[in-house]
């Protein structure tokens, strides 16, 4: 645990030593504002909640989180520091977890910095703040699943561009598998059971409930499980091809 914490600290400060964290947070904040007010019509709906804000999160994360995760291992490979890291007395899992948690904290920070939106709806009306808090937690959990996919893809390649593209593609599949677009397309072809299974793998269907403030154990469990599985896959990748 100690080593994980040390890696976490190093990675976290590295996000702020380079412009990565600042750029990420700035873009995240401005995009979420644009989405919420222009496309989500926060004002026009006349309801004091943040549903329009949270509904866009899967699509925001789809591009922003892979951009954040892409450097985590690719950079280590490229600069050769992976050889240093992997010959220090730490396990691959500690390194993986430390890197993940650091980036996840930055994501959490970005989310927390959207608090002016929360202030706005509280000023304008009388929202259910429990629901909003639950949705924030759900969104942060989901970002962790995106992040784990991104880190696994970053472990695969020393090129950040390749890592980014792979991560976006995989994340896209996870998001899309539950969207109406896919489900309608296969409506006539596939049996309901298969469609339901497909939809149950989707980030969208699990996030939907959480965005409305319902924290169900199976949704939480789903995102935690997805994150762990992808982190574990990333660990295997690193272990088997760390020198390539």
């Amino acid at each position: 645990m100690g080593n994980t914490l040390i890696i976490l600290r190093r990675e976290f400060s590295s996000f702020f030593a380079t412009p990565v964290a600042y750029v990420f947070i700035a873009i995240f904040l401005s995009l979420s504002a644009v989405f919420t007010f222009s496309f989500g019509s926060l004002y026009e709906r006349g309801q004091a909640d943040l549903l329009p804000f949270f509904n866009f999160h899967p699509w925001l994360y789809l591009f922003l989180v892979p951009a954040m995760a892409m450097r985590s291992w690719s950079e280590e490979r490229k600069s050769g520091s992976i050889e240093l890291l992997m010959t220090l007395p730490i396990s691959v899992w500690q390194a993986m977890l430390g890197k993940f948690l650091a980036a996840w904290l930055v994501l959490g920070l970005a989310l927390a910095l959207t608090f002016p939106l929360w202030l706005t709806v509280n000023y304008l009306g009388n929202p259910d703040n429990g629901i909003i808090l639950a949705a924030y937690l759900g969104s942060w959990l989901m970002s962790g699943a995106f992040l784990a996919i991104g880190m696994c893809m970053s472990a695969l390649s020393k090129s950040q561009v390749i890592a980014f593209i792979l991560a976006v593609v995989v994340c896209f599949l996870f998001v899309l598998s539950g969207s109406g677009l896919i489900l309608n397309a296969f409506n006539d072809v596939l049996p309901v059971l298969v469609l339901d299974t497909l939809a149950s793998f989707s980030f969208l269907s699990h996030f939907d409930a959480m965005a409305k403030g319902v924290i169900a154990l199976n949704d939480v469990g789903y995102f935690v499980l997805v994150a762990l599985v992808w982190l574990y896959a990333g660990r295997l990748v690193i272990e088997h091809k760390k020198a390539e």
């Binding site: 100690g2 080593n3 050889e83 992997m86 010959t87």
Partner: protein, 305 residues
């Protein structure tokens, strides 16, 4: 103690290290020599637990690296080739990070101060590693390798890219480490082996071609115990070269130096100098050769091909 048995590593169809076996005892300062791509770095990467061997065994202080990797890594200090580090950190941040991972606890500050002094990084502590010159980067790499005062130190080309003064410093640093450590360095520079090592290993094509003291390595040279002379002006040397103790000779056309090779490895310097004095030959240079390492190196590694 490091014990390596039948160590093999292949990448696809290419065998980088081929059935390598050797032992290293505390107190040994081993120089790994070999052409590029000979398997030196690959061997070091396996010793430090970065690469997993295709087959064979590595035991370090009684622990097998296959199941006690982290425990072994705690005892090793390693400078990878090119001295990679985290470029976005300052030197001080980086050393703190390594010291934390090494679990130095309350000794941390004292150890950091000590290594900073040892590698003379005092003026660079607040610089980003990215902006350091090659020499300073190498020193940062050395500092992180010795920060926990490891029993085993493995340095992959520690003096590569350094200027002669810096090279001298690094060699002194290695020599000043305590006597009961194991040090393994890889290098292309043959003089480095005679300067710092008490054991030389030549690796080519993934196999061990020589293992002995640097002196033994020099003895392998045909120039070992040869005598080289140079005359002020053109002189008849037929008398010299036909001495009984001289087996053959060689004339360097460019410098005009004459090298006499002894018969039966005997010391011919006294005999030669006597002869020269007796005959009043106009010499301005006379010395015994130690053996030319680059010659031995070529000979041993070309055999491999």
């Amino acid at each position: 103690m490091i014990s390596v048995k039948q160590l093999t590593k292949s990448f696809g169809g290419f065998t980088a290290v081929d059935q390598l076996s050797f032992e290293v005892q505390p107190g040994d300062i081993v120089g790994f020599l070999g052409p590029n791509g000979a398997g030196k770095s690959t061997t070091m990467k396996m010793l430090t637990g970065f690469l997993t061997p295709s087959s064979g065994q590595i035991e370090i202080n009684g622990l097998n690296i296959a199941d006690k990797r982290v425990a072994i890594q705690q005892q090793i200090g390693y400078l990878p080739e090119g001295a990679p580090a985290y470029n976005d950190m300052t030197v001080l941040q980086f050393l703190h990070f390594i010291a934390d991972i090494r679990g130095l606890g309350k000794d941390k500050q004292a150890r950091i101060d000590k290594v900073v002094e040892q590698v003379e990084l005092q003026d660079m502590l607040d610089r980003q590693i990215e902006h350091l010159s090659k020499g300073f980067k190498r020193r940062v790499g050395l500092a992180q390798a010795i920060i926990h005062d490891p029993a085993i130190l493995i340095l992959d080309e520690p003096t590569d890219g350094l200027d002669p003064n810096q090279k001298h410093q690094v060699r002194e640093l290695i020599q000043n480490l305590s006597q009961d450590k194991i040090v393994i360095i890889s290098t292309h520079i043959l003089e480095e082996v005679t300067a710092v090592c008490n054991r030389a290993m030549i690796i080519a094509d993934g196999q061990l071609h020589f293992d002995g003291t640097p002196e033994a390595l020099q003895r392998q040279s045909r120039y070992h115990k040869a005598v080289t002379v140079h005359f002020e002006h053109l002189t008849d040397i037929s008398g010299l070269t036909s001495m009984l103790c001289v087996e053959s000779f060689e004339v360097d056309r460019r410098t005009g130096r004459v090298t006499l090779f002894p018969a039966n490895e005997q010391d011919i310097l006294p005999l030669v100098s006597h002869y020269i004095q007796d005959h009043g030959l106009p010499i301005d240079t006379l010395y015994a050769e130690q053996g030319r390492l680059d010659d031995v190196f070529r000979q041993l590694t070309m055999e491999a091909n």
